[in-house]
């Protein structure tokens, strides 16, 4: 089985990768790091470049985990992207980083993390940014 790790170049994303790699080592499972930018704009600050991907893979190798980085595009439905990946890879766990959002923030901007937490079919491990 595989573990999906949602990654953004933020402290929460880093925490997710740490936790995901730890789980991967523990369970001796493959890890797929999912860095999914939003389709449309030319530049998306959430996308990481090849150098950063390579660095992540290096971290995985150091932790003794077999990992890959995938960068599928999503429209308005990051959750769907994860669902499709779960289906395709038979993943058993999703790891995401959570950031505290105010009520207003959640209302106006929505919360994809919340949707994944609520509706994913597989267990979801949520972590916070390292203090």
């Amino acid at each position: 089985m595989t573990i999906l790790v949602g990654y953004l170049p933020t402290p929460e994303g880093e925490a997710a990768v740490d936790a995901g790699l730890r789980e991967g080592a523990l369970r001796r499972e493959r890890v797929i790091i999912v860095n999914s930018p939003r389709r449309g704009a030319v530049v998306d600050e959430h996308k990481i470049d090849d150098a950063a991907s390579a660095a992540l893979l290096e971290r995985a190798r150091a932790a003794g985990v077999d990992a890959e980085v995938r960068q599928p595009l999503h429209d308005d439905d990051l959750f769907q992207t994860f669902e499709d990946l779960v289906e395709e890879t038979g993943a058993g766990l999703i790891v995401i980083g959570l950031r505290h959002r105010s009520l207003v923030g959640k209302f106006i901007l929505g919360s994809e993390a919340q949707r994944i937490l609520m509706e994913a079919r597989v267990p979801v491990l949520s972590v916070k940014a390292a203090r």
């Binding site: 389709r39 449309g40 429209d75 308005d76 209302f107 106006i108 901007l109 929505g110």
Partner: protein, 177 residues
């Protein structure tokens, strides 16, 4: 002016690959080529325009070269269009510069419909509501934004336009408020 393409000058492969690769990348984004039917149809439409113009301008009277009538100039142009379009019908079959109409073209059609509706409704109920609906439709269905974003951005946009056109510039637009 004959100037050799820099990508084809005798040079290390690196350069040539870059130019071609760049070209390929830019091409990737575009829809596939339309077939000969589209090319011929386009040429026939142009031909029809030429014929229409020729008939219309002939009816206006060509006059003589010493006293040109109103139809002389448009007639001359129409003839040129007819000739060139005929050539295009014959030679244009194999061209690859047209794009296929795909499902994505439906998006454009929906877009045009919203524009027509805006123009039709504008004098009746003012610009605020049709604008709001247009922006909302473009965001939600054509742009695949979320419900929340679509509503927020469309309201904000119409409000901004109101402030800009009505309050600041005081341009007369048909409006509700």
């Amino acid at each position: 002016m004959s100037m050799s393409d820099p990508a084809r000058s005798p040079d290390p492969l690196g350069d040539v690959i870059d130019a071609d690769r760049l070209q390929a990348e830019l091409e990737e984004g575009r829809p596939p080529h339309a077939g000969p039917i589209s090319q011929i149809t386009a040429a026939l439409v142009a031909l029809a325009v030429g014929v229409f113009g020729a008939i219309g301008s002939y009816a206006l009277g060509l006059g003589r070269l010493t006293q040109p009538g109103p139809g002389l100039w448009p007639f001359a142009i129409s003839v040129v269009i007819i000739v060139l379009s005929a050539v295009l019908v014959v030679t244009g079959r194999g061209l690859e510069d047209a794009e296929r109409f795909s499902k994505a073209s439906l998006l454009t059609t929906v877009g045009v419909v919203t524009l027509v509706l805006l123009a039709a409704l504008l004098p009746v109920i003012g610009f605020e509501i049709p604008s709001l609906l247009l922006v909302f439709v473009w965001l939600r269905w054509l742009g695949k934004e979320s419900w929340r974003s679509s509503i927020v951005i469309s309201v904000a946009t119409v409000a901004a336009f109101y402030v800009l056109f009505v309050v600041l510039l005081q341009i007369p637009l048909p409006r509700l408020i």
